[in-house]
């Protein structure tokens, strides 16, 4: 059966499948050599045995089984999802051993994909997390829709157009994988929201490839190989998913960005937004400097290099409340500079800030020399005039 498989693989497909075909052809030889070595061991037992650990519910293991065995395994009590998913990885390895042991499993009942059982919890999880669950969880949705004939149907998810290619119709073998490949690619770009576990992706991909596989036996081989090679593409896909998730978050942050489609344009908007924000900071700082000549940060040296790094403005704070050494440093430095009193905000003592803001109503307090807040300046009129002009300008 193996030689026919490989020849069928070679002749029966279009060019879109060539890389996979090569892979699978190489893998064919591996399998054949292994078959000859007969190093296979019955791997049917471990999944059911580890059913308590969730191995039974790994549907990649079930992919290789004839339908009735799969049903049996399915009806075993489900365990937690994650061990199931993790076991899916291990059972994926055992999958191909199923293949070799039971070549009859390759000929699935016609018009059905029984090897894609609908483990409700697992499918749900795959639908939620899988990379193929872009928009409407197409591939995962196709699972229940197709296995529903045989197995208890999980919660029905809207079947997508992507389910079409997965529907195993004999004779459409070349187009189906191609369509599915495109759908995959489309999903890769559009990407689901969440990051997926590579094991789960591997099982999903392997299972998905397998649904159309009753005429493409090598697909089963590729499913196993998908565990090794696909881990790279799986990691890549997971990474791209993460990237698109972050991009969506950025889109929400930047106003007006959600309508834009296309990565480059969205990035343009993001860049513009960041630039505009930075420019606003610069303009506001110049405005503060221009309008309020008394505002200054004189202790910059000390507070930048200080470990606590707290903001300390200006002078004349006196010795009041300087509990931290950095503050006294700033005060000393500023005392050395000949300055009139300037307005400063004391962030170390936040309890005072409300009082500062309260004083908006009673501006006459600001001329109080003791608090050294708003200093008095003979050039005040000039400043006010300038501030009005600046206000209209900015």
């Amino acid at each position: 059966m193996e030689p026919t498989r490989s020849s069928g693989a070679g002749s029966g497909n279009s060019g879109t499948y060539t890389p996979e075909i090569e892979e699978s052809l190489r893998f064919e030889e591996e399998i054949q050599s292994l078959m000859r070595d007969n190093t296979m061991h019955p791997s049917l037992e471990p999944p059911p045995a580890s059913g308590g650990g969730g191995g039974s519910s790994s549907f990649t293991a079930l992919l290789g089984l004839p339908a009735n065995q799969a049903v049996e395994l399915l009806h075993q009590p489900d365990s937690d999802d994650s061990p199931a998913v993790a076991a899916a990885a291990t059972s994926g390895r055992e999958l191909w051993r199923f293949r070799l042991r039971d070549p009859k499993a390759l000929t699935l009942p016609s018009g059905f994909s029984p090897t894609f059982p609908s483990n409700a919890a697992l499918v749900e999880r795959a639908a939620r997390l899988s990379v193929f669950a872009a928009e409407d969880s197409p591939e995962a949705a196709s699972v229940p829709s197709h296995s529903g004939d045989r197995f208890p149907k999980p919660k029905a998810e809207p079947a997508d157009s992507d389910s079409q290619p997965i529907c195993p119709i004999p004779g459409e073998r070349p187009q189906r994988p191609a369509k599915r490949k495109e759908a995959e690619k489309g999903n890769k770009v559009k990407g689901a929201a969440k990051k997926t576990k590579s094991a789960e992706e591997g099982s999903a991909k392997g299972a998905e490839e397998n649904t159309a596989g009753e005429k493409l036996p090598y697909v089963h081989v590729r499913a196993r190989r998908g565990q090794a090679t696909d881990s790279h593409s799986l990691a890549e896909r997971a990474r791209r998913e993460k990237i698109s998730a972050r991009m969506k978050l950025l889109q929400e942050l930047v106003p007006g960005c959600s309508k834009i489609s296309g990565t480059a344009l969205v990035l343009d908007e993001i860049i513009n937004h960041v630039q505009s924000l930075q420019r606003q900071v610069e303009l506001l700082s110049m405005r503060l400097a221009a309008v309020h000549p008394r505002i200054d940060f004189s202790g910059l040296d000390s507070f930048l290099s200080a470990e606590c790094g707290r903001v300390s403005v200006g002078n004349g704070r006196g010795g009041g409340g300087m509990e931290q050494s950095a503050w006294t440093e700033a005060t000393d430095e500023s005392r050395r500079q000949p300055q009139q009193q300037i307005w400063h905000v004391d962030l170390v003592h936040p309890h005072q800030t409300p009082s500062v803001w309260e004083r908006v109503d009673s501006p006459h307090l600001f001329v109080h020399p003791g608090t050294s807040l708003f200093g008095y300046d003979p050039a005040n009129s000039v400043v006010s005039l300038h501030s009005n002009q600046l206000k209209t300008e900015l």
């Binding site: 990035l267 506001l284 221009a290 200054d296 940060f297 790094g309 707290r310 600001f366 001329v367 050039a379």
Partner: protein
């Protein structure tokens, strides 16, 4: 410094004369303080650390001596190779590099982390802008009141 400021004209932005120098210097100091405020508001972030070291470097702080910059520049291409058509990739890469230059410390980051840092940086910038605007408005109001009261 204050005496110089009394000779200000509106073209202070264009011509850094002796009259404007003080004002420009103060403006730069205020900007540095604003950026320090950014740093302090999001202390754990990569961009916050990068911005802080940049500020310290600008102040001529020799004690820092960190070699964080230039470790692994341009970590962009890895995530994009082979995904889309080449034109798209080039376009996207260009923008990602531009974003890397904008976000402090962005050059060290790969795409996914870069986007995360960008989101946080945007939020912090917006907060900083709001604070400064409120401060400027408050001070303007105070000045106006003072002028009305004292004038």
């Amino acid at each position: 410094m204050e005496k110089q400021d009394s000779n200000r004209s509106l073209s202070f932005i264009d011509t850094p004369t002796a009259a404007n120098a003080g004002f420009l210097e103060r403006g730069r100091r205020i900007k540095m303080a604003a950026e320090m405020g950014l740093v302090e508001s999001s202390r754990g972030r990569h961009w916050s650390r990068a911005l802080r070291s940049r500020l310290l470097r600008r102040k001529g702080n020799g004690a820092c001596g960190c070699k964080e910059e230039g470790l692994a520049p341009c970590k962009v291409a890895e995530d994009l190779v082979g995904e889309d058509g080449d034109d798209e990739v080039i376009e996207i890469e260009r923008r990602v590099r531009a974003l890397q230059k904008l976000v402090p410390g962005g050059e060290d980051l790969a795409m996914d982390q870069l986007f995360e840092e960008t989101a946080d940086y945007i939020e912090a910038l917006q907060g900083q802008v709001n604070v400064m605007r409120a401060l400027a408005g408050l001070l303007d109001g105070l000045e106006k009141e003072k002028r009305l009261m004292g004038g």
